[in-house]
Symmetry: C2
Subunit: 204 residues, 2 copies
DNA sequence: TAGATTGTTAATCGATTAACAATC
DNA sequence: TAGATTGTTAATCGATTAACAATC
């Protein structure tokens, strides 16, 4: 069954909470989760229901089982290989963000146009020149590109990624990318987040 | 009139598009914007309508006026001062992201617990020890904290921010923060983004 | 049992899409 | 005028909230 983006996002937040519960807490209620995230408790139950059979009347949800169900449903275990394209500050920050691996995102290499960076390693990930993208895309079995190049290079680099038949582009640049319909683009719009955050009382 | 988060987010994307149109393009149609973002064209018109009176039948929207209307409505011009708390890779990346200033987000200083960083400057922003947070919050007129500390320090640092009566916390850590209701928290959930992105065909 | 909590339905609310008259 | 595009209404769709019976 299809799970909507909003539900996926909330399930990932529930997982953060479960992740930090001590061993001694065996059960957690929808009321407790709802309170921590300031959402409606029946929404929490409904979200969890989409994972299948998890809860126990009167006691709540088994923390370990619930965590496991979220991990299975959201695919934390099936790892996906990804490239970071743009080894600047943001690209390096993401390369050093080891939590990604726990959620199934495995960063295998990085690309940059700066010759002084090519051949170096950032948190163990090798940095290559972009001209080798096609070759290395085939070698590493990666279909995700995390785009962290400067705004003005964004489209040109995207063309290279598209040419190499990358399937997913996670776009951290404030540039609207042009790409064929079969390439899935996710705009990580930090500016938009900031504006929502400070202009509005809704939560994310 | 209140504008919903989804509309704010799309308006910021429209702004990116307008920002990159050459001087020669005086007008743009809702159909063109819709095509670039793969959204519905009547949604674009409705979103723009929430800005007030902008369009011209037959010719489309005046690019300059539309840009200006988005900037006014979303408050790009009223700058807000912010601190980055955590001068690691991600904090430094955000400190170097000069585009923020164009959208009204002015980063005035950074905080870290690492003594070797305290006293240094990152992209011109001074780095202070966290024990000076309260003092400097009053000095700089800042009510936003961008939280980029390691996950395990997140709650402890949040307590300091709350104590100093910060109003907005932009949380980049994968930790659910506990804070009083009058502190507004925005979770920038990168893990959640990744999961939505790769599990689902909806767009963001 | 009494009480707490889930699962689920129905009601409400808001967002998206489709359609088309009005406009220039 | 003819044609393109906005503005706006109505229809549809989906998400949230409220309520409560079922359960242990």
């Amino acid at each position: 069954m299809k799970i909507s983006n909003k539900v996926i996002n909330r399930l990932s937040l529930y997982h953060f909470i479960l992740d930090e519960l001590g061993e001694e807490e065996k059960y957690i209620s929808s009321f407790k989760i709802a309170e921590l995230l300031a959402v409606d408790n029946s929404q929490v139950r409904k979200d969890i229901r989409s994972l299948g059979n998890c809860g126990k009347c009167r006691v709540g949800y088994d923390v370990k089982k619930l965590k496991d169900a979220i991990e299975t449903t959201l695919g934390f275990k099936q790892t996906r290989n990804a490239f970071i394209v743009g080894a600047g500050n943001l690209g390096s920050a993401l390369a050093k963000y080891d939590s990604f691996a726990n959620y199934g995102l495995n960063i295998v290499a990085m690309f940059d146009s700066d010759k002084s960076k090519i051949g170096s390693y950032i948190n163990g990930k090798p940095v290559f020149g972009l001209e080798r993208f096609l070759e290395l895309k085939n070698k590493f079995d990666a279909d995700i590109a995390i785009l962290t190049v400067p705004k003005k290079a964004a489209q040109q680099v995207t063309d290279v990624l598209v040419e190499a038949k990358i399937k997913y582009i996670w776009n951290f640049t404030p540039h609207i990318l042009k790409a064929p319909d079969d390439v899935k683009i996710w705009n990580e719009n930090l500016i938009g987040s900031f504006l929502q955050f400070t202009n509005n009382d809704e939560k994310n």
